[in-house]
Symmetry: C2
Subunit: 214 residues, 2 copies
Protein backbone atom coordinates (compact mmCIF):
# COMPACT_ATOMS: atom_id res chain seq x y z
CA UNK A 1 0.00 0.00 0.00
CA UNK A 2 1.43 3.39 -0.97
CA UNK A 3 2.04 5.99 1.73
CA UNK A 4 -0.10 8.96 0.75
CA UNK A 5 0.41 12.63 1.51
CA UNK A 6 -3.03 13.84 2.58
CA UNK A 7 -4.48 17.28 3.27
CA UNK A 8 -7.40 16.87 5.71
CA UNK A 9 -10.04 19.21 7.10
CA UNK A 10 -8.47 22.17 5.38
CA UNK A 11 -10.89 25.08 5.68
CA UNK A 12 -11.34 27.95 3.28
CA UNK A 13 -13.91 30.62 2.46
CA UNK A 14 -16.05 30.50 -0.68
CA UNK A 15 -13.40 32.69 -2.33
CA UNK A 16 -10.57 30.35 -1.32
CA UNK A 17 -9.11 32.31 1.60
CA UNK A 18 -7.56 30.18 4.36
CA UNK A 19 -5.72 32.74 6.49
CA UNK A 20 -5.16 36.46 6.88
CA UNK A 21 -1.94 38.30 6.49
CA UNK A 22 -1.73 39.58 10.05
CA UNK A 23 -1.20 36.46 12.09
CA UNK A 24 -0.41 37.10 15.76
CA UNK A 25 -0.29 35.33 19.10
CA UNK A 26 -3.82 36.46 19.86
CA UNK A 27 -5.14 35.86 16.36
CA UNK A 28 -3.59 32.64 15.02
CA UNK A 29 -5.35 32.82 11.67
CA UNK A 30 -4.92 36.54 11.21
CA UNK A 31 -8.53 36.68 10.11
CA UNK A 32 -11.62 38.36 11.43
CA UNK A 33 -14.35 35.77 11.61
CA UNK A 34 -12.09 32.73 11.25
CA UNK A 35 -14.59 30.82 13.40
CA UNK A 36 -17.04 30.98 10.50
CA UNK A 37 -14.69 28.66 8.60
CA UNK A 38 -14.42 26.18 11.48
CA UNK A 39 -17.82 26.04 13.13
CA UNK A 40 -18.94 22.99 11.10
CA UNK A 41 -16.06 20.96 12.54
CA UNK A 42 -16.57 22.09 16.11
CA UNK A 43 -20.16 20.82 15.92
CA UNK A 44 -19.06 17.22 15.24
CA UNK A 45 -18.72 14.48 17.86
CA UNK A 46 -15.19 13.61 16.73
CA UNK A 47 -13.58 17.06 16.72
CA UNK A 48 -10.28 16.55 18.57
CA UNK A 49 -10.56 19.70 20.65
CA UNK A 50 -14.11 19.03 21.78
CA UNK A 51 -14.51 19.29 25.54
CA UNK A 52 -18.17 18.35 26.08
CA UNK A 53 -19.93 15.13 25.01
CA UNK A 54 -22.48 15.22 22.21
CA UNK A 55 -21.99 16.62 18.74
CA UNK A 56 -23.28 15.38 15.41
CA UNK A 57 -22.32 12.08 13.78
CA UNK A 58 -23.56 12.92 10.30
CA UNK A 59 -21.57 13.64 7.15
CA UNK A 60 -19.28 16.26 8.69
CA UNK A 61 -18.28 13.83 11.41
CA UNK A 62 -16.92 11.33 8.87
CA UNK A 63 -14.44 13.98 7.77
CA UNK A 64 -13.63 15.09 11.31
CA UNK A 65 -12.89 11.52 12.39
CA UNK A 66 -10.81 10.75 9.34
CA UNK A 67 -8.27 13.27 10.65
CA UNK A 68 -6.20 10.58 12.41
CA UNK A 69 -7.25 7.54 10.36
CA UNK A 70 -4.10 5.74 9.20
CA UNK A 71 -1.96 8.87 9.74
CA UNK A 72 1.56 8.29 11.07
CA UNK A 73 3.11 11.78 10.86
CA UNK A 74 2.28 15.41 10.03
CA UNK A 75 4.14 18.11 8.16
CA UNK A 76 3.30 21.73 8.99
CA UNK A 77 4.65 25.16 8.21
CA UNK A 78 6.22 27.15 10.99
CA UNK A 79 3.25 29.51 11.11
CA UNK A 80 1.01 26.67 12.20
CA UNK A 81 3.32 26.11 15.18
CA UNK A 82 3.50 29.72 16.29
CA UNK A 83 3.48 33.37 15.21
CA UNK A 84 7.19 34.11 15.62
CA UNK A 85 9.33 34.98 12.60
CA UNK A 86 13.11 34.82 12.27
CA UNK A 87 15.37 33.24 14.92
CA UNK A 88 13.54 31.75 17.92
CA UNK A 89 13.61 34.17 20.86
CA UNK A 90 12.03 32.04 23.54
CA UNK A 91 12.42 28.27 23.73
CA UNK A 92 10.08 28.20 26.73
CA UNK A 93 7.08 28.95 24.52
CA UNK A 94 6.18 25.58 23.05
CA UNK A 95 3.62 26.35 20.39
CA UNK A 96 -0.07 27.05 20.08
CA UNK A 97 -1.20 23.53 20.76
CA UNK A 98 -1.11 23.23 24.54
CA UNK A 99 0.05 20.26 26.59
CA UNK A 100 -2.10 17.76 24.64
CA UNK A 101 -1.68 18.57 20.94
CA UNK A 102 -4.26 16.79 18.76
CA UNK A 103 -1.68 15.29 16.37
CA UNK A 104 -0.44 12.33 18.45
CA UNK A 105 2.34 11.49 15.98
CA UNK A 106 5.72 12.95 15.03
CA UNK A 107 5.19 16.43 13.50
CA UNK A 108 7.76 18.01 11.17
CA UNK A 109 7.74 21.81 11.42
CA UNK A 110 9.34 23.50 8.41
CA UNK A 111 11.56 26.39 9.45
CA UNK A 112 14.81 28.00 8.44
CA UNK A 113 15.66 28.13 12.16
CA UNK A 114 15.97 24.61 13.59
CA UNK A 115 15.70 24.10 17.36
CA UNK A 116 15.63 21.00 19.58
CA UNK A 117 12.61 18.68 19.27
CA UNK A 118 9.75 19.11 21.74
CA UNK A 119 7.60 16.27 23.07
CA UNK A 120 4.18 17.19 24.43
CA UNK A 121 2.13 14.18 25.50
CA UNK A 122 2.16 11.78 22.49
CA UNK A 123 3.13 14.44 19.93
CA UNK A 124 6.77 15.24 19.13
CA UNK A 125 7.59 18.37 17.13
CA UNK A 126 10.77 18.19 15.02
CA UNK A 127 12.07 21.41 13.44
CA UNK A 128 13.60 20.94 10.02
CA UNK A 129 15.09 23.26 7.43
CA UNK A 130 14.26 21.22 4.34
CA UNK A 131 12.62 21.47 0.94
CA UNK A 132 9.22 19.76 0.53
CA UNK A 133 10.54 16.52 -1.01
CA UNK A 134 13.12 16.05 1.76
CA UNK A 135 10.61 16.85 4.49
CA UNK A 136 8.21 14.31 3.00
CA UNK A 137 10.92 11.67 3.00
CA UNK A 138 11.58 12.28 6.72
CA UNK A 139 7.88 12.20 7.54
CA UNK A 140 7.28 9.00 5.56
CA UNK A 141 10.03 7.25 7.42
CA UNK A 142 8.65 8.43 10.77
CA UNK A 143 5.12 7.33 9.77
CA UNK A 144 6.18 3.67 9.65
CA UNK A 145 4.06 2.70 6.68
CA UNK A 146 1.09 4.91 7.48
CA UNK A 147 0.09 8.02 5.53
CA UNK A 148 1.42 11.53 6.16
CA UNK A 149 -0.89 14.47 6.82
CA UNK A 150 0.04 17.81 5.29
CA UNK A 151 -1.33 20.07 7.99
CA UNK A 152 -0.95 23.53 6.44
CA UNK A 153 -0.97 26.47 6.66
CA UNK A 154 -2.00 27.55 3.24
CA UNK A 155 1.48 28.62 2.10
CA UNK A 156 2.83 25.18 2.95
CA UNK A 157 -0.01 23.40 1.13
CA UNK A 158 0.65 25.50 -1.96
CA UNK A 159 4.37 24.73 -1.85
CA UNK A 160 3.69 20.99 -1.76
CA UNK A 161 1.09 21.31 -4.55
CA UNK A 162 3.62 23.21 -6.65
CA UNK A 163 6.11 20.38 -6.07
CA UNK A 164 3.37 17.89 -7.08
CA UNK A 165 3.77 15.90 -3.86
CA UNK A 166 0.14 15.90 -2.65
CA UNK A 167 -1.95 12.75 -3.22
CA UNK A 168 -5.35 13.71 -1.75
CA UNK A 169 -7.02 16.85 -0.41
CA UNK A 170 -10.13 17.33 1.67
CA UNK A 171 -11.04 21.01 1.61
CA UNK A 172 -14.14 22.28 3.42
CA UNK A 173 -15.46 25.41 1.73
CA UNK A 174 -17.53 27.58 4.06
CA UNK A 175 -20.43 29.73 2.81
CA UNK A 176 -18.70 33.01 3.65
CA UNK A 177 -16.71 35.37 1.45
CA UNK A 178 -13.61 36.95 2.98
CA UNK A 179 -12.17 38.99 0.10
CA UNK A 180 -8.60 39.47 1.28
CA UNK A 181 -6.09 37.03 2.74
CA UNK A 182 -3.94 34.09 1.78
CA UNK A 183 -5.68 31.93 -0.77
CA UNK A 184 -5.54 28.19 -1.39
CA UNK A 185 -7.04 28.75 -4.81
CA UNK A 186 -9.15 31.14 -6.83
CA UNK A 187 -11.18 28.10 -7.84
CA UNK A 188 -10.70 24.35 -7.33
CA UNK A 189 -10.84 24.07 -11.12
CA UNK A 190 -7.16 25.09 -11.10
CA UNK A 191 -6.33 21.58 -9.89
CA UNK A 192 -8.48 19.58 -12.31
CA UNK A 193 -5.63 18.89 -14.69
CA UNK A 194 -3.96 16.80 -11.97
CA UNK A 195 -6.80 15.75 -9.66
CA UNK A 196 -10.24 14.16 -9.70
CA UNK A 197 -12.83 16.16 -7.73
CA UNK A 198 -15.98 15.15 -5.83
CA UNK A 199 -18.04 18.12 -4.59
CA UNK A 200 -20.22 17.18 -1.61
CA UNK A 201 -22.58 19.71 -0.02
CA UNK A 202 -23.22 19.12 3.68
CA UNK A 203 -26.40 19.94 5.61
CA UNK A 204 -24.20 22.17 7.82
CA UNK A 205 -23.69 24.60 4.93
CA UNK A 206 -20.06 23.77 4.08
CA UNK A 207 -19.21 22.07 0.81
CA UNK A 208 -16.63 19.32 1.08
CA UNK A 209 -14.21 19.19 -1.84
CA UNK A 210 -12.45 15.86 -2.22
CA UNK A 211 -9.52 15.74 -4.61
CA UNK A 212 -7.31 12.82 -5.49
CA UNK A 213 -4.51 12.43 -7.93
CA UNK A 214 -5.29 11.28 -11.47
CA UNK B 1 -15.56 8.43 25.19
CA UNK B 2 -18.56 6.14 24.83
CA UNK B 3 -18.15 2.84 22.97
CA UNK B 4 -20.57 3.04 20.07
CA UNK B 5 -22.35 0.24 18.25
CA UNK B 6 -21.98 1.16 14.57
CA UNK B 7 -23.47 -0.24 11.36
CA UNK B 8 -21.06 0.52 8.48
CA UNK B 9 -21.23 0.12 4.73
CA UNK B 10 -24.56 -1.63 4.95
CA UNK B 11 -25.93 -1.90 1.42
CA UNK B 12 -29.57 -1.96 0.38
CA UNK B 13 -31.64 -1.42 -2.74
CA UNK B 14 -33.80 1.67 -3.26
CA UNK B 15 -36.69 -0.36 -1.82
CA UNK B 16 -34.69 -1.35 1.27
CA UNK B 17 -33.81 -4.94 0.32
CA UNK B 18 -30.48 -6.18 1.73
CA UNK B 19 -30.61 -9.92 1.05
CA UNK B 20 -32.69 -12.58 -0.64
CA UNK B 21 -34.44 -15.45 1.01
CA UNK B 22 -32.52 -18.22 -0.75
CA UNK B 23 -29.02 -17.85 0.61
CA UNK B 24 -26.67 -20.69 -0.39
CA UNK B 25 -22.98 -21.54 -0.49
CA UNK B 26 -22.79 -20.36 -4.09
CA UNK B 27 -25.00 -17.32 -3.60
CA UNK B 28 -24.16 -15.76 -0.20
CA UNK B 29 -26.70 -12.97 -0.50
CA UNK B 30 -29.44 -15.10 -2.00
CA UNK B 31 -30.04 -12.30 -4.48
CA UNK B 32 -29.82 -12.03 -8.23
CA UNK B 33 -27.79 -8.93 -9.02
CA UNK B 34 -26.35 -8.44 -5.53
CA UNK B 35 -23.27 -6.94 -7.19
CA UNK B 36 -25.38 -3.93 -8.15
CA UNK B 37 -25.60 -3.11 -4.44
CA UNK B 38 -21.84 -3.42 -3.89
CA UNK B 39 -20.18 -2.08 -7.00
CA UNK B 40 -19.72 1.44 -5.53
CA UNK B 41 -17.59 0.01 -2.72
CA UNK B 42 -15.50 -2.22 -4.95
CA UNK B 43 -14.53 0.86 -6.98
CA UNK B 44 -12.87 2.57 -3.98
CA UNK B 45 -9.17 2.49 -3.16
CA UNK B 46 -9.81 1.38 0.42
CA UNK B 47 -12.13 -1.57 -0.18
CA UNK B 48 -10.68 -4.36 2.00
CA UNK B 49 -11.04 -7.10 -0.62
CA UNK B 50 -9.41 -5.08 -3.40
CA UNK B 51 -6.66 -6.98 -5.16
CA UNK B 52 -5.32 -4.43 -7.67
CA UNK B 53 -3.97 -0.95 -6.93
CA UNK B 54 -5.94 2.11 -7.95
CA UNK B 55 -9.54 2.88 -7.13
CA UNK B 56 -11.22 6.17 -6.31
CA UNK B 57 -10.46 8.29 -3.25
CA UNK B 58 -13.56 10.46 -3.45
CA UNK B 59 -16.63 10.48 -1.22
CA UNK B 60 -17.31 6.74 -1.38
CA UNK B 61 -13.76 6.02 -0.25
CA UNK B 62 -14.28 7.95 3.00
CA UNK B 63 -17.02 5.49 3.88
CA UNK B 64 -15.07 2.45 2.70
CA UNK B 65 -12.05 3.41 4.79
CA UNK B 66 -14.11 4.20 7.88
CA UNK B 67 -14.91 0.45 8.03
CA UNK B 68 -12.05 -0.26 10.49
CA UNK B 69 -11.63 3.22 11.98
CA UNK B 70 -11.67 2.87 15.79
CA UNK B 71 -13.42 -0.54 15.58
CA UNK B 72 -12.35 -3.14 18.16
CA UNK B 73 -14.85 -5.97 17.55
CA UNK B 74 -17.68 -7.05 15.26
CA UNK B 75 -21.00 -8.76 15.91
CA UNK B 76 -22.55 -10.72 13.03
CA UNK B 77 -25.44 -13.09 12.53
CA UNK B 78 -24.69 -16.71 11.70
CA UNK B 79 -25.79 -16.22 8.10
CA UNK B 80 -22.96 -13.78 7.52
CA UNK B 81 -20.51 -16.49 8.58
CA UNK B 82 -21.95 -19.25 6.39
CA UNK B 83 -25.06 -20.70 4.79
CA UNK B 84 -25.56 -23.68 7.13
CA UNK B 85 -28.63 -23.92 9.36
CA UNK B 86 -29.11 -26.06 12.48
CA UNK B 87 -26.28 -27.99 14.17
CA UNK B 88 -22.87 -27.60 12.51
CA UNK B 89 -22.14 -30.59 10.27
CA UNK B 90 -18.59 -29.80 9.24
CA UNK B 91 -16.10 -28.01 11.49
CA UNK B 92 -13.55 -28.11 8.68
CA UNK B 93 -15.47 -25.46 6.74
CA UNK B 94 -14.39 -22.20 8.34
CA UNK B 95 -16.69 -19.60 6.88
CA UNK B 96 -17.03 -17.51 3.76
CA UNK B 97 -14.17 -15.17 4.53
CA UNK B 98 -11.09 -17.08 3.45
CA UNK B 99 -7.75 -17.23 5.24
CA UNK B 100 -7.48 -13.43 5.58
CA UNK B 101 -10.87 -12.18 6.75
CA UNK B 102 -11.21 -8.37 6.46
CA UNK B 103 -12.37 -7.88 10.07
CA UNK B 104 -9.01 -8.10 11.91
CA UNK B 105 -10.63 -8.07 15.35
CA UNK B 106 -12.59 -10.50 17.50
CA UNK B 107 -15.91 -11.32 15.78
CA UNK B 108 -18.92 -12.58 17.71
CA UNK B 109 -21.12 -14.85 15.58
CA UNK B 110 -24.65 -15.20 16.95
CA UNK B 111 -25.87 -18.80 16.76
CA UNK B 112 -27.95 -21.22 18.76
CA UNK B 113 -25.25 -23.80 18.06
CA UNK B 114 -21.96 -22.78 19.69
CA UNK B 115 -18.70 -24.32 18.47
CA UNK B 116 -15.02 -23.71 19.30
CA UNK B 117 -13.54 -20.35 18.31
CA UNK B 118 -11.65 -20.10 15.01
CA UNK B 119 -8.63 -17.85 14.40
CA UNK B 120 -7.84 -16.93 10.80
CA UNK B 121 -4.95 -14.50 10.46
CA UNK B 122 -5.78 -11.58 12.80
CA UNK B 123 -9.50 -12.32 13.02
CA UNK B 124 -10.95 -14.64 15.70
CA UNK B 125 -14.54 -15.85 15.34
CA UNK B 126 -16.34 -16.62 18.61
CA UNK B 127 -19.70 -18.42 18.43
CA UNK B 128 -22.18 -17.30 21.04
CA UNK B 129 -25.77 -18.16 21.86
CA UNK B 130 -26.80 -14.84 23.36
CA UNK B 131 -29.45 -12.14 23.14
CA UNK B 132 -28.39 -8.81 21.56
CA UNK B 133 -27.65 -7.01 24.85
CA UNK B 134 -25.46 -9.83 26.14
CA UNK B 135 -23.63 -10.17 22.83
CA UNK B 136 -22.95 -6.43 22.85
CA UNK B 137 -21.55 -6.64 26.36
CA UNK B 138 -19.12 -9.38 25.25
CA UNK B 139 -18.09 -7.45 22.16
CA UNK B 140 -17.56 -4.20 24.09
CA UNK B 141 -15.28 -5.96 26.51
CA UNK B 142 -13.29 -7.52 23.65
CA UNK B 143 -13.07 -4.15 21.86
CA UNK B 144 -10.97 -2.68 24.68
CA UNK B 145 -12.44 0.79 24.58
CA UNK B 146 -12.96 0.98 20.83
CA UNK B 147 -16.32 0.90 19.07
CA UNK B 148 -18.16 -2.26 18.01
CA UNK B 149 -19.30 -2.82 14.42
CA UNK B 150 -22.67 -4.47 13.89
CA UNK B 151 -21.89 -6.34 10.70
CA UNK B 152 -25.29 -7.68 9.70
CA UNK B 153 -26.95 -9.44 8.04
CA UNK B 154 -30.19 -7.59 7.82
CA UNK B 155 -32.05 -9.78 10.33
CA UNK B 156 -29.34 -9.13 12.91
CA UNK B 157 -29.38 -5.38 12.30
CA UNK B 158 -33.14 -5.33 12.75
CA UNK B 159 -32.92 -7.29 16.01
CA UNK B 160 -30.43 -4.80 17.43
CA UNK B 161 -32.54 -1.87 16.22
CA UNK B 162 -35.61 -3.41 17.88
CA UNK B 163 -33.59 -3.70 21.11
CA UNK B 164 -32.55 -0.01 20.66
CA UNK B 165 -28.85 -0.86 20.92
CA UNK B 166 -27.59 0.78 17.71
CA UNK B 167 -25.86 4.19 17.98
CA UNK B 168 -25.01 5.00 14.34
CA UNK B 169 -25.81 3.56 10.90
CA UNK B 170 -24.22 4.14 7.53
CA UNK B 171 -26.51 2.65 4.88
CA UNK B 172 -25.62 2.93 1.19
CA UNK B 173 -28.78 2.89 -0.92
CA UNK B 174 -28.17 1.72 -4.49
CA UNK B 175 -30.22 3.00 -7.44
CA UNK B 176 -31.80 -0.38 -8.13
CA UNK B 177 -35.17 -1.80 -7.11
CA UNK B 178 -35.25 -5.46 -6.08
CA UNK B 179 -38.88 -6.00 -5.07
CA UNK B 180 -38.61 -9.14 -2.96
CA UNK B 181 -36.17 -10.11 -0.24
CA UNK B 182 -35.26 -9.30 3.33
CA UNK B 183 -35.69 -5.61 4.02
CA UNK B 184 -33.85 -3.26 6.34
CA UNK B 185 -36.72 -0.81 6.06
CA UNK B 186 -39.59 0.24 3.85
CA UNK B 187 -38.27 3.78 4.25
CA UNK B 188 -35.54 5.33 6.44
CA UNK B 189 -38.29 7.58 7.80
CA UNK B 190 -39.23 4.69 10.09
CA UNK B 191 -36.18 5.50 12.19
CA UNK B 192 -36.60 9.27 12.42
CA UNK B 193 -38.26 9.13 15.82
CA UNK B 194 -34.99 7.84 17.28
CA UNK B 195 -32.29 8.98 14.85
CA UNK B 196 -31.01 12.05 13.06
CA UNK B 197 -30.52 11.51 9.31
CA UNK B 198 -28.13 13.04 6.76
CA UNK B 199 -28.85 12.00 3.16
CA UNK B 200 -25.76 12.31 0.94
CA UNK B 201 -25.92 11.51 -2.78
CA UNK B 202 -22.63 10.27 -4.23
CA UNK B 203 -21.37 10.79 -7.79
CA UNK B 204 -21.26 6.97 -8.05
CA UNK B 205 -25.06 6.80 -7.93
CA UNK B 206 -25.53 5.45 -4.41
CA UNK B 207 -27.06 7.62 -1.71
CA UNK B 208 -25.35 7.41 1.65
CA UNK B 209 -27.75 7.53 4.59
CA UNK B 210 -26.09 8.50 7.87
CA UNK B 211 -28.13 8.00 11.01
CA UNK B 212 -27.18 8.72 14.59
CA UNK B 213 -29.10 8.49 17.82
CA UNK B 214 -31.02 11.55 19.05
Amino acid sequence: MAQLLRVQNFMVSSDGVAAGENQSLENPFGLDGAERLFSWAGATASWPNRTDPGGSRGLDDYFARDFRNNIGAEIMGRNKFGPQRGPWQDHQWRGWWGEEPPFRTPVFVLTHHPRPSITLSDTTFHFVDADPATALELAREAAQGKDVRLGGGVTTVREFLDADLVDTLHVAVAPVKLGTGLRLWDSPDELLDRFHLDVVPSPSGVTHHLLWRK
